[in-house]
Assembly symmetry: C2
Homo-oligomer: 371 residues x 2
């Protein structure tokens, strides 16, 4: 079992408040995390939301998830035996809790203990070759026999083979939509059969039909929960490569299965190996690489932005100067601090207010633009 440095159990009231906060407009995992950290609990953050969004220049009042809606979501979850868990609670994958944008509440269904065990992700092409499917099956089985939980995306092709091979040993399906909106629909049976010894997880509310943009977003959960990600067959520009990139950004091990240069289904994996991914031909390649990592404790609350304070109280004079520095061309937090002369806490707070007002866009590398 993965080590974890603390466990948590939310009260029903705090769970309800947190659910309202994450389901409110313009609140993503990072904003949620900043607000929770600053205000200490979700209820206080909820109370301050309208004021902060107004200060950020919101044209109208953003929608705040009502108590009734949140209660309805919790009730619907309970009917499907879906638990909405916070990072640090039993059943929330410990490694997933360590990523920057960990879901504040994760919908978890199935065998919760499985989610606390070391996981390896196996992902790849939907239209994989027979050889690719065969390899994924064997690799998944061997990793399962080695005590690992195999996590994947329930897609056709490689994902499906990886799940099927580990129904007995334990497998986790990460959904892009709500727990009642399985995609592809014909994998409902596969999902049902894996829940006895495995689990399904989603950050989306029930009823949410997965859209195209939800899949890359979902992929960060596959890599984030795992020690490492194995890519089995991926063409150039395939979705599996997004998972590989996210894995690398999250500090997860990236493994790729090689193929003939003449096989376009191996072009993406061969490229990954050129870029430094570890070449995998058998499960021991993966196990040997992740074993030393498993032995280190998982430390929650070790994120880079942790402990960076906010300051909503002072700095009214600075606000205008900071907003004036923002525009359609990207600017970094560091430049904003330098050019505005305001404190980092004030700059971060103003950006958060703009976030809540739906006026800020955050890009890679800490760059922001005003919408």
């Amino acid at each position: 079992m993965d080590a974890i440095n603390k466990t948590l159990h939310l009260t029903d009231a705090e769970r309800l408040d947190r659910l309202r906060l994450i389901r409110s407009d313009n609140i993503g995992p990072r904003t949620f995390q900043s607000l929770l950290q600053h205000f200490g609990d979700a209820r206080t953050a909820l109370e301050r939301l309208p004021d902060l969004a107004r200060r950020g220049g919101a044209s109208g009042p953003g929608r705040i998830c009502s108590i009734e809606d949140a209660k309805a979501e919790l009730a619907a979850a309970a009917r499907m035996n879906v638990h909405l868990l916070a990072p640090g609670e039993i059943g929330y994958p410990p490694r997933l809790a360590t990523i920057d944008d960990a879901p504040p509440l994760l919908g978890v269904r199935g065998a919760l203990d499985v989610l606390m065990r070391p996981m390896i992700a196996i992902v790849g092409s939907r239209n994989a070759s027979d050889a690719g499917l065969k390899f994924a099956t064997q690799l998944a089985r061997d990793l399962g026999d080695g005590g690992f939980i195999v996590i994947s995306g329930l897609a056709r092709g490689i994902d499906q083979s990886a799940h099927r091979a580990t129904i007995e040993s334990g497998t986790v399906a990460v959904l892009a939509g709500g727990h009642d909106r399985i995609y592809p629909p014909e994998h409902g049976d596969l999902l049902a059969s894996l829940l006895d010894n495995g689990a399904a997880i989603s950050e989306m509310p029930q009823g949410h039909v997965p859209r195209a943009r939800d899949f890359p977003r979902r992929n960060r959960l596959i890599s984030g929960a795992a020690l490492g990600v194995v890519i089995v067959e991926a063409a150039h520009r395939s979705g599996s490569l997004i998972t590989a990139r996210m894995a690398a950004e999250q500090g997860r091990e990236v493994f790729a299965v090689p193929g003939s240069p003449l096989d376009p289904r191996a072009a993406g994996t061969n490229d990954l190996i050129k870029q430094g991914a570890a070449l995998v031909t058998q499960a021991t390649d993966v196990i040997n690489a992740v074993t030393p990592i498993m032995e280190r404790p998982i430390v929650l609350g070790a994120r880079e932005d942790d402990g960076e304070p906010l300051d909503f109280e002072t700095g009214a004079d600075d606000r205008g100067r900071i907003v004036n520095l923002l525009g359609p061309s990207p600017i970094s937090l560091d430049d904003l601090i330098r050019l505005s002369g305001a404190s980092p806490a004030i700059v971060r707070s103003v950006l958060l207010e703009l976030d809540l007002a739906g006026r800020l866009e955050r890009h890679g590398g800490g760059l922001v633009t005003l919408i």
Copy 2:
């Protein structure tokens, strides 16, 4: 054209002497090199050979190649338009001249200027797949178009495809036997057709039928002459992996073409990539890696053992002590120096005498045993 820091042209007399020296008993390329360096020319070394071998404990007089035999070999070579060239002469591949055990005289046939150009080795399975042969053909053609000479071993399979694809752009065949003993015999036509724009090289005298042990020995010339070696398909324990190991020891780039983990013909190349070889799917992967290396000058005489002096004149008292330290269990030069208390020059000289007497076996890592 590869840069080279000096050119040499032997006199007929010196070429004859060098040929006699390298064709004499118990003289390999390293011993040749030590003797030439110590005595300044091959003739002096030849004169001293009987005495040195006797001091090494030779039971009888070792065979010294006669003037007549050497003249006959030179005449036979001339009849086939084979030039016997020394490192530093035009037509002797400049990079090959830099390896520790470069042939003191290399038999060269064909277009000599081609041998001065930058080379890439392409080697692989004799029983390659159609895909492997197709890839080798395309890679060789692209490297040829990129201005590189493709060097290989004239074997069936990958070697053959690499040569055939570069008959126009220039290719070099490295033979394990003499120039008149082509292996496999059915590749005589291929060899003849590549000589117009390419060359064949061998360190063996004409008439020498290649034995099994000559092929690994030959492989060091393939890698040594090249900037890097591309392995296209190789099963576990295949001969191509010997070439890869030699390339790595010689400081040459090692490239490997990946394949499916389910294809045993890719097991060796996938392993090479795991061990650090660069993954190749197209010629630019090779060209980009070797271009910075091509820009550095090739320095002859930069070998590690260069300038390590010998001393045959003093140290008669030390000889017995050094020989007593030798036996069937391997001992290093450093230990011999330390335990005998003799100077490095004397220890090296005693070992060379034992070499000439046929009593010394040299192993990897500078270890020696007495036979």
